[in-house]
Symmetry: C2
Subunit: 504 residues, 2 copies
């Protein structure tokens, strides 16, 4: 990967330096330094950055600058950016001058609409959001962006950040009172009245550390298996319950709730109340979380050569990007996908299943990715593929969908598919049958392409009475293909309630 880009994000709650790399059809985050600077601490009372906060900030900027220099990043490959706490401080200019001297480069202060735009780019390039609202809650402010047809339609920023609201509405290290909560709720509601376009938003996607923390806590509370929070939906009722639990504890004990990290324990309650208020104002029952944020928004602007910089198809790009991280046999993987989706279509046309397009997409993704686990070890590579998919992540897919893809690859060689510890994610009716079909079709396609040379050009399903006969169009001999495919009869019968004849 030949290109790099670093973002030093001087946020109100924390400072974070993130380095991205891209090239050869893939991209990834390659380094990250985090420091909980809390530059916005005390600002809500005084209107200014405190001397202690400035000292912590400059020390961290110094570390970032040295890191950037040591990494050999050129000035054009690095962006130092500041958001609301710095933007709105009365001593902003003095601070920026000192920061510039330490950083060796100017710190770009993002205006509210710029901050909102990067949040929007992050959300639209990491989810399937086409119409709805993006919520970006930071330490100092909250941005909301209305999205219509994947484009930015309206945007506004409110001084409703989690650090700020904590300082204004909650005092010392004590449980929150009903009165404090009600006051904050009323404040959020009043503030958001100005955005009439919020009502009836249909879909709300949240970015930022507060949203990620709430999602992690919600996954734990629901006892869901977790491999990242991307795509997780927090329901309103669950968020209400979480707020109750947080309010009962003094801030110093809130990290005892699974999923709540100590560095965020004191401000998470205010953040949760603000998010809940935004849901109320938007008229949605759930908020969807993405792991991407402001920094990814800035990175996408560099990565994507389009205006606005939008990935054409987020889910497809996620699959291609994950596949490209590993040294797989690309023509093989693509041909397996081609064979499997053709059989999927033909069996649907014959009425053996519904031919759901989402199911087809999951099958396609499983085919593209089925061999990435060979990077770990040939032995058990189906299990390693599952691990790499779950832990590598597929932005744009829900946790349930990621689990379905991973589990289909897990069974691409042998065994009868089950969900194992991923079962709690399988909330849709018929998920077990879907997994059977996906695993079977991937496996059958892999068998037909067992010699990895695309010599079985295509395979067709002829359905007759209780039997499905496989017709192969091939260059040369198909003995390996038939030998391999003949082993799938049991799973075929379970998946399609028909016997399979692979010919001879």
């Amino acid at each position: 990967m030949a290109q790099r880009f670093a973002v030093a994000d001087l946020g109100s709650n924390s400072f974070r330096l993130v380095v991205y790399a891209w090239g050869d059809g893939r991209w990834r985050r390659i380094d990250e330094i985090f420091e909980a600077v809390r530059i916005g601490a005390g600002e809500d009372r005084t209107g200014a950055l405190s001397e202690e906060a400035i000292a912590r900030a400059l020390a961290t900027i110094d570390v970032f600058a040295h890191f950037v220099a040591a990494s050999g990043l050129s000035p054009s490959e690095v962006a130092f950016v500041a958001t609301s706490a710095i933007r709105e401080a009365s001593n902003r200019d003095a601070f920026l001058e000192r920061a510039r001297a330490v950083a060796g480069t100017a710190v770009r202060v993002l205006e509210g609409d710029e901050e909102a735009r990067y949040g929007y780019l992050a959300a639209v390039n990491s989810t399937t959001l086409a119409d709805g609202v993006v919520l970006d809650l930071g330490g100092g402010s909250m941005q909301l962006v209305r999205v219509a047809g994947r484009l930015e339609a309206d945007a506004a920023s409110w001084p409703l950040g989690a650090v700020r609201m904590t300082e204004r509405f909650f005092g010392d290290d004590a449980p929150a009172t009903r009165k404090q909560l009600d006051k904050l709720r009323a404040h959020v509601a009043a503030e958001l009245e100005s955005a009439g376009w919020l009502a009836a938003s249909r879909r709300l996607v949240a970015i930022g550390g507060t949203a990620r923390t709430l999602a992690a806590a919600d996954q734990r509370a629901q006892e869901l298996p977790s491999f990242g929070v991307g795509g997780h939906v927090i329901e309103a009722a669950a968020l209400d319950e979480l707020i109750e639990r947080l309010a009962e504890l003094p801030p110093s004990e809130r990290a005892s709730i699974p999923g709540i990290k100590p560095a965020r324990a004191d401000v998470i309650l205010a953040g949760a109340v603000v998010v809940r208020g935004a849901m109320e104002a938007s008229g949605v029952d759930g908020v969807e979380v993405t792991e991407a944020g402001l920094r990814e928004g800035m990175f996408f602007e560099r990565l994507i050569d389009a205006d606005p910089p939008l990935l054409e198809d987020v889910r497809q790009e996620s699959v291609y990007n994950l596949a490209a991280q590993y040294d797989i046999d690309v023509p093989h993987a693509r041909h397996v996908a081609e064979l499997a989706t053709t059989l999927f279509d033909e069996l649907a046309a014959s009425g053996l299943h519904d031919g759901d397009p989402i199911e087809r997409e999951l099958l396609w993704a499983a085919c593209l990715l089925h061999d990435i686990g060979m990077a770990v070890n040939y032995d058990d590579h189906h299990k390693h593929t599952r691990y790499l998919i779950l832990n590598g992540g597929l932005p744009g897919f829900t946790p349930r969908e990621v689990a379905l893809i991973a589990q289909a690859t897990r069974y691409h060689r042998k065994g009868m598919p089950t969900f194992g510890e991923l079962a709690p994610l399988m909330t849709a009716k018929g998920d077990a049958a879907l997994l059977d079909r996906a695993a079977l079709l991937l496996r059958l396609a892999e068998d037909l392409e067992r010699s990895r040379d695309q010599s079985v050009r295509s395979a067709h399903a002829e359905v007759e009475d209780g039997e499905v006969r496989l017709q192969l169009v091939a260059d040369g001999d198909v003995r390996v293909a038939r030998w391999a495919a003949s082993r799938e009869q049991q799973l075929f019968e379970r998946a399609f309630d028909r016997t399979l004849d692979v010919g001879r």
Copy 2:
């Protein structure tokens, strides 16, 4: 990886086609097809390959040949080899002629000493065996090779294979009787009397599917966490117990014992008794298992440009090979190893620990490998590194050592080291303290090399009273290094019972 080599191993129990690839300083197995052909079935009674067995064999050879052709492997890149069942059959020549016609190339029949030699090459290149005996138990025969100074000193082959012994000593699908077991034991002991050089072997390394299966069953019986059987030692007493449990069950039920695969359930008892007899004859209390076998022996002959083809240092090569599978920052990893081992040596010289050379080697390995998990995801890459080490394998290290290396990398960023589910492997006194030291030194070295530019050229430990002061020799500023290292004070104190002063 530009080069490939395929071995089609026509064994007495199973046929297996394995493809290896190598180049760019690394090698790996990239494909494998297995079929439980049992070509030796019935041979012990008749002296000949049966027509049914020949039909199964030719069908599988046909599949292998088509696979090889489709993979674009040239004749010089493929070896079809046969071992004892075919070698000793009265109708061998007729079979070989038919096999040649199907394979499109001659099948090379390995003589007993050649088979023994490849087993020896597999064992000596996948373990630290320098002096001892290599045991290779197949379906038809058993080879024993005495190794002295890593060289082949004596070798012999006996018709004591697991399939053969099963047919001769055990009948139908019934539990084994005491009498049957005693007869087989006596037969093995009598056969092995011919090898006087066996006695007092000191160390016994076993290869082959029977040994791997016994090791897997033993790991399960001991309730040990398993990530492959390489390096596992089966104690004599444990093998005796396993033989008892196997004998009590009819062959058809033996796969109910965890670790015993159905395809091997019928012949595993005889195999276990033969291995136990070889231990008896060698005067050893335990047999060490390696995952490498005949096929790897043939591959090593291609890979290693030396005579005999021996890796210079098996453990070191394992670490380099695993590191080279992933796209890591090599100068960074090597520099971390350099910094960490220097501190290790200096702290030992100051009397803060024993400076055990094995511990030093584990630390070095952990340093080399610490970042491979970044291939999976930057987030939690320490956890991914652990997964990749455990599942990628490190031939030459024991399971305990692999676990120590993996666990040190697991804690190379944060947290207080523990063994978690790997605890049952930690049988040596002081393992927890060893892990603390290794994780701490890796972490400290990583901090000093946090900017990945080798600007901290070396670090030295000055011990004075209750304190260790870090002296850095650096090009330019060391602020990032000190900032990062200052976070390790707690773990340093736990590991060395001294406070750490990183300077300022």
